[in-house]
């Protein structure tokens, strides 16, 4: 423990100031970026790392999928550059195996100095719209090597002495299909690092160097103390789970995922040993992504509302053997890493849901079901593209039904676009955007939420459709007798042809009048459906969430369709029989 004479109030004010530094950085980049993927989708995260490049001090992530991949990047800088880290430097890095996720997510790291002393690093990581590679937009579901996925930045100096390093900037310009947007976002990203640097230095000027460093230590100490305190309430023991990833998009073989979680008084050990080998397709989750995925679930379990930092994550240890889907090695492709990463979050969640019911629900639809529908509207000559995640069903809790139509766990404050905006901007008619009650959900004493169906009819001559739907062959899990959820998939209705059900396709042609239907599944149920309160079943029938037939066959509740009332006697008999 640090001994200090600074007032506890001053330390609190500085701690808040360091949190605000991250928040200001977050707003700054969001406000000044040129690409909607930053300012609308919030596909970025920022934070402060301590002087050794080890610990996250404060962070502001736009999506939970970026919970704490920032510390890896600062660590990489310290390891590679050692004494050659100077004021005015900014490093650029995106290699998944060392510090990254996929090549589109580019991290910039700036050391913060006061006098000659390094106080820490400001780090900003976010999705660059275009970094080259085999397809427009760089990420794709059909790559088999990282070299197809874009340009790699192996932690090099983007700025030297406060000035852009022209050699690197020109490399970026020549390797991106959208250099203006990418460089615009990049300069905004650098500016946000400077915002954090200024705020930290302002704190130093006001309260003194030692006091600020003291407050940083204090933040980490408090974070760790808090996590350990909260760990007292966690169930102790060893918990395991197994599951499958549908496939890697290249072959049809399912990939096993396996975890052993060991919770003791002071350690939260997650061991993925036994999970499948790194995949031929792009679904691999590099180690930093795997850590991020696990941290999501760890935070959800321990406290979803805390300001996490390196101290808070200190009890968490993660083992993922090299060469597996959770720790792939060069040249494994990672451009749809979220497919693997979300399974890292999910399998830990699955191992623990039944022992941590206050915080964890049954499984949810999980797949982001990333969708691209785009081309050139030949009626006006305007290019258009819809790039979006799909919302789906979340799992039930021991005390609640699951929520319907929400973005998956890797996404957070992510807004699904308005149908009216799409129809105004693109040659697409949104014929249907509704809950997917047709496929049902994970029934249970508490049932899972419903997925969604969104039908796009193409109004121009031609467009290209890409989708990556996971959790289709192996729908999400229920708990304690609750049923599993329903699959995610897409259906292409081509005129004059039979409907075509697809899971992972790249650049499929669709023509005028064709309909593309994106379908997501319902979440897992919790508890035996026969124990569901008949009144709730009746409510579900009245509201059209489930049919009277499902009420009878799955829930053992007989409902008179004329009067919309429960037949109590028939229900008793039925439930005895089922």
């Amino acid at each position: 423990m640090t001994v200090n004479s600074t007032s506890p109030f001053t330390l609190e004010i500085i701690k808040n100031g360091l949190i605000v530094a991250s928040e200001e950085m977050f707003y700054s980049w969001g406000r000044t970026a040129k690409s909607p993927v930053i300012y609308e989708v919030l596909d970025y995260a920022v934070g402060l790392i301590d002087a050794e490049g080890k610990n996250l001090v404060t962070q502001a992530p736009g999506i939970p999928g970026f919970t704490g991949v920032l510390d890896f990047a600062a660590g990489e800088v310290v390891e590679m550059w050692g004494d050659d880290i100077r004021a005015g430097d900014v490093f650029v890095s995106n290699v998944p195996y060392q510090s990254g996720t996929h090549l589109n997510d580019v991290t910039l790291i700036m050391p913060i100095f006061n006098g000659g002393r390094r106080l820490g690093f400001a780090v900003a990581k976010g999705h660059w719209s275009e970094v080259g590679g085999m397809h427009f937009g760089s990420w794709t579901s059909d790559s088999t090597e990282i070299y197809q996925e874009g340009i790699q930045f192996p932690c090099v100096k983007l700025y030297v002495g406060g000035e852009p390093n022209r050699s690197i900037v020109e490399m970026i310009r020549y390797n991106s299909r959208m250099p203006d947007f990418v460089l615009g976002d990049m300069y905004a990203q650098v500016a946000s690092l400077k915002v954090a640097g200024r705020r930290v230095n302002w704190l130093v000027d006001k309260y003194g160097l030692e006091t600020v460093l003291d407050a940083m230590d204090r933040l980490l100490e408090d974070g760790e103390k808090y996590a350990r305190l909260k760990m007292r309430d966690l169930p102790k023991g060893t918990f395991t789970a197994e599951d499958w990833i549908d496939d890697d998009g290249i072959t049809d073989d399912p990939i096993p995922v396996k975890v052993e979680v060991k919770i003791t008084d002071d350690e939260f050990l997650v061991d993925f040993t036994g999970s499948g080998k790194q995949a031929a397709g792009s679904i691999n989750s590099a180690y930093p992504s795997t850590v991020s995925g696990v941290r999501e679930t760890y935070m959800a379990m321990i406290d979803p509302y805390t300001h996490p930092n390196g101290g808070f994550f200190a009890p968490l240890k993660i083992i993922a053997p090299e060469g597996t889907v959770f720790n792939p090695q060069r040249p494994a492709p990672t451009s749809t890493f979220w497919e693997g990463m979300s399974h890292a979050a999910d399998i830990v969640w699955k191992a623990l849901a039944h022992v941590s019911p206050e915080r964890l629900s049954a499984g949810h639809f999980l797949s982001i079901e990333a969708t691209i529908l785009g081309g050139v509207d030949d009626r006006t000559g305007t290019p258009f593209a819809i790039v979006e995640p799909q919302p789906g069903g979340w799992g039930a809790g021991y005390d609640m039904d699951g929520e319907s139509a929400l973005v998956a766990c890797g996404d957070g404050e992510t807004y699904i676009a308005s149908s009216e905006v799409y129809e105004r901007r693109t040659p697409i008619l949104v014929e249907r955007y509704a809950l997917n009650t047709g496929d049902g959900t994970g029934h249970g004493t508490h049932r899972g939420g419903f997925g969604a169906v969104r039908n796009y009819r193409l109004l121009c001559s031609e467009a290209s459709f890409t989708v990556s739907a996971g959790r289709s062959k192996f729908p999400c899990w229920g708990v304690d007798g609750g049923m599993k959820g329903t699959p995610n998939y897409a259906v292409v209705y081509r005129q004059g042809e039979d409907p075509m059900r697809v899971l992972k396709v790249a650049a499929l042609k669709v023509r005028k009048g064709d309909v593309v239907s994106l379908v997501t599944g319902g979440g897992g149920g919790w508890g035996d459906p026969l124990k569901r309160d008949p009144e709730l079943v009746l409510g579900d029938v009245v509201n059209g969430y489930v049919t009277a037939e499902v009420a009878r066959e799955v829930y053992g509740v007989e409902i008179n369709k004329e009067t919309m009332e429960i037949d109590a006697k028939a229900t008793r008999d039925l439930r005895r029989r089922l």
Partner: protein, 684 residues
């Protein structure tokens, strides 16, 4: 002599405030009574009774209420049925599918106020360009509305896709339902003509949800106030007022009427003292609200949400609202020690009941007010001019609890709590200024509300703001006073994507603005025949391909080519201020056209108030106050007795019945010719 009072009445959570002014006799009165939550109109009637103003003496009544917002927050609205486009039944339930509470794996969205069985689809379809793909089926509308009425709905909402472009199908459906059923019918395009179906459907559904309730409330109130309905005006969220009749049809327009009235009041003060750029700071008992106004023109936005905070998405309400931010930091914010032994202040607050510990009304958690009492910054004997006795011993006991846990002295703990709270309040200012590209040092802080004047000098010191004005109007009834400064306002906002570089841009702009102006003039006409005295035009513009829009002022009258250039230049400049970059070579497009019609009302000028007389010595006493880590003897003045020209250097304390001002070292307080207290930082 006949008197004619204009009366502003503001219902808040705890108190109902009245400010009345007679411009002939220059009589200004104010009354504060406890609110009567069960039957709010009783509190209003009681307020008027206590003011001593008789019915015939009232020339105009301007009313801001919390009926609408509370009905929504408490989920006490009526049963609403929805008719919507086939394929889009679940818009209100899917919402935008975002998970604002992103680490909560058991997150639930706010539940749709229209349950699924009351949402019925009908065949009809409008395309994005306004063409009718499918005509509405009258039979289906009849059938569906009949079913809804049989299910016992109290209001029917009709929300169709793309009705913002072409409302024909909604209108036809409305006619059919109105001709057959005696329930209120709300058509989404009548409430807002902006795109984004979830936001528009939500706004319309909430309007229906509160409509019968506000209708009943306003009818009852009106009948007890006056026989002349034209005298009754309702405050709206855009800082204007409309007739009770209009508010009955569009109750959702009044959702934020109370807080906004304070901003309008602050503008009245700013205008009088010759300031154009202000930050209005409203320090309440549980929250602090801030609003930044540039050039005396409050920023009106339709990006507003009910019940939104850091972890809750709330319901979107796409109606014009003066932009304000609110944070959970007020006079009764609770100081607490977290699990790892660190001190925090707020966002939990003791509120009016039980209140701070020192009120002796059963509160047992240390609050900010208790900390102020312990330091001596707040009067340790009484508040509210003597009406509220203070128990300093209880405050000491409460703050001692904090001190013991932190191992500090009592006074250190009290001052520390105050510093933390001021840091929180400064953050609210940061949100409206720095984070939107403004430098707070370019603004004057106008502070009101029970705790605003207390926070303001600390915030000014922290953010290096040079000037604070604490209005002469008692800070505790300031919002009601603001109501006397509002104009009659009507808005028309239409989404109509228009590229500014299109060859026919000029004609398109002229045509749309004329349509909107006709619409606004029509609203005034329906209000009793008077026309607006001013028309203002705005446009929400963005770069082609971008999402962010910025609001730009558009010249009135016939538009010419140079006007287009002016609009463009002003767009580039505003965009650069808000987003740090501009793209002068890129095409720009208008997303929303916005016209405001204003009928100016004779305002209460501060200069008309009688000057404070200087017959009594304003110096009350010297008080020992703990400040900057030690005790100092501070002079304490009665602010109501300070005369024009008075000035002093801090540290000092100024008290009046509803608020206390702490003038800090390095600050100078003076009284301007209106009686306002002006605090400036002294350059050393």
């Amino acid at each position: 002599m006949d008197s004619s009072y204009r009366v502003g009445i503001d219902i808040g959570g705890a108190f109902t405030d009245l400010v009345a002014y007679d411009s002939t006799t220059k009589d200004l009165r104010w009354v504060k009574v406890e609110s009567t939550p069960r039957e709010l109109s009783m509190g209003v009637v009681d307020c008027i009774k206590r003011s001593g103003i008789a019915q015939p003496e009232m020339e105009q009544i301007i009313h801001g209420q919390t009926v609408v917002i509370n009905t929504i927050i408490e989920r006490k609205g009526v049963n609403v049925g929805l008719l919507t486009t086939r394929g889009h039944r679940d818009v209100l339930e899917i919402q935008r599918a975002n998970r604002r509470d992103m680490y909560n794996f058991k997150y639930k969205k706010p539940e749709s106020i229209v349950p699924r069985h009351l949402r019925i689809e009908v065949d009809e379809r409008i395309m994005a360009d306004g063409t009718v793909l499918k005509e509405i089926s009258g039979e289906q509308v009849e059938e569906a509305s009949k079913r809804l009425v049989e299910k016992g709905v109290d209001a029917i909402c009709v929300s169709f896709l793309n009705s913002y472009v072409n409302p024909e199908n909604e209108r036809k459906a409305g006619e059919i339902i109105r001709s057959r059923h005696n329930v209120p019918v709300v058509l989404s395009h009548e409430v807002t003509r902006e795109w984004r179906e979830y936001e528009r459907f939500s706004t319309a559904a909430l309007n229906a949800y509160v409509l019968p309730i506000l209708d009943r409330y306003l009818s009852r109130l009106q009948s007890s106030l006056t026989k002349d309905p034209r005298k009754c005006m309702a405050m709206t969220s855009d800082g204007g007022m409309v007739s009770f009749d209009f508010a009955r049809r569009f109750p959702i327009y009044t959702v934020e009427s109370g807080p906004v009235a304070g901003v309008i009041g602050a503008l009245g003060v700013a205008e009088a003292v010759g300031e154009k750029d202000i930050i209005a700071l409203d320090g309440g008992s549980t929250t602090t609200k801030a609003s930044l106004v540039e050039g005396l023109n409050p920023e009106v936005t339709t990006e507003y949400y009910v019940e939104r905070d850091r972890f809750r998405p709330g319901f979107p309400v796409m109606v014009p609202v003066v932009r304000t931010v609110e944070i959970g930091n007020g006079g009764t914010s609770i100081a607490w020690i977290d699990e790892v032994g660190r001190v925090r202040v707020g966002p939990k607050a003791a509120g009016a009941d039980p209140g701070p510990v020192c009120y002796g009304k059963g509160g047992d958690q240390p609050t900010l007010t208790d900390a102020y009492v312990v330091t001596g910054m707040l009067n340790p004997d009484y508040l509210l001019g003597g009406e509220l006795p203070i128990h300093r011993d209880l405050a000491v006991k409460a703050i001692n609890g904090v001190a013991a846990e932190l191992d500090t002295s009592l006074e250190e703990a009290a001052e520390g709590i105050i510093k933390l709270a001021n840091e929180n309040a400064a953050y609210a200012i940061d949100l409206v200024s720095v984070q939107r590209g403004y430098d707070p040092r370019d603004f004057t802080l106008i502070a009101y509300g029970g705790s605003g004047p207390m926070f303001a000098p600390f915030i000014a010191e922290e953010l290096e703001i040079g000037k604070i004005v604490v209005p002469v109007i008692p800070p505790g009834v300031f919002s009601a006073w603001g109501m006397l400064n509002t104009d009659v306002r009507h808005n028309s906002i239409h989404t109509h994507i228009t590229r500014l570089d299109a060859p026919d841009a000029l004609e398109t702009l002229s045509r749309i603005y004329k349509d909107l102006e006709d619409e606004v003039t029509g609203m005034f006409r329906s209000e009793g025949g008077e026309s607006p005295t001013a028309i203002e035009r705005y446009a929400d513009i963005r770069y082609y391909g971008q999402e962010h829009t910025v609001k730009v002022y558009v010249p009135s009258g016939a538009l010419s080519a140079p006007d287009l250039q002016t609009i463009l230049e002003s767009f580039h400049a505003t965009h650069e201020r808000e987003y740090e970059f501009k793209l002068p070579g890129d095409p720009a497009e208008i997303v929303n056209f916005h016209v405001v019609g204003i009928r100016r009302v004779q305002k209460l000028s501060l200069g008309e108030l009688p000057e404070p007389s200087g017959s009594q010595d304003p110096l009350l006493t010297d008080r020992s106050v703990y400040i900057n880590g030690g005790y100092e003897e501070l002079p304490v003045y009665d602010r109501t007795l300070l005369t024009v020209g008075f000035s002093l250097e801090g540290p000092a304390i100024l008290e009046d019945p509803t608020a206390t001002i702490i003038v800090l070292t390095g600050q100078k307080a003076s009284v301007d010719r209106f009686g306002n207290t002006v605090i400036r930082s002294v350059v050393r």
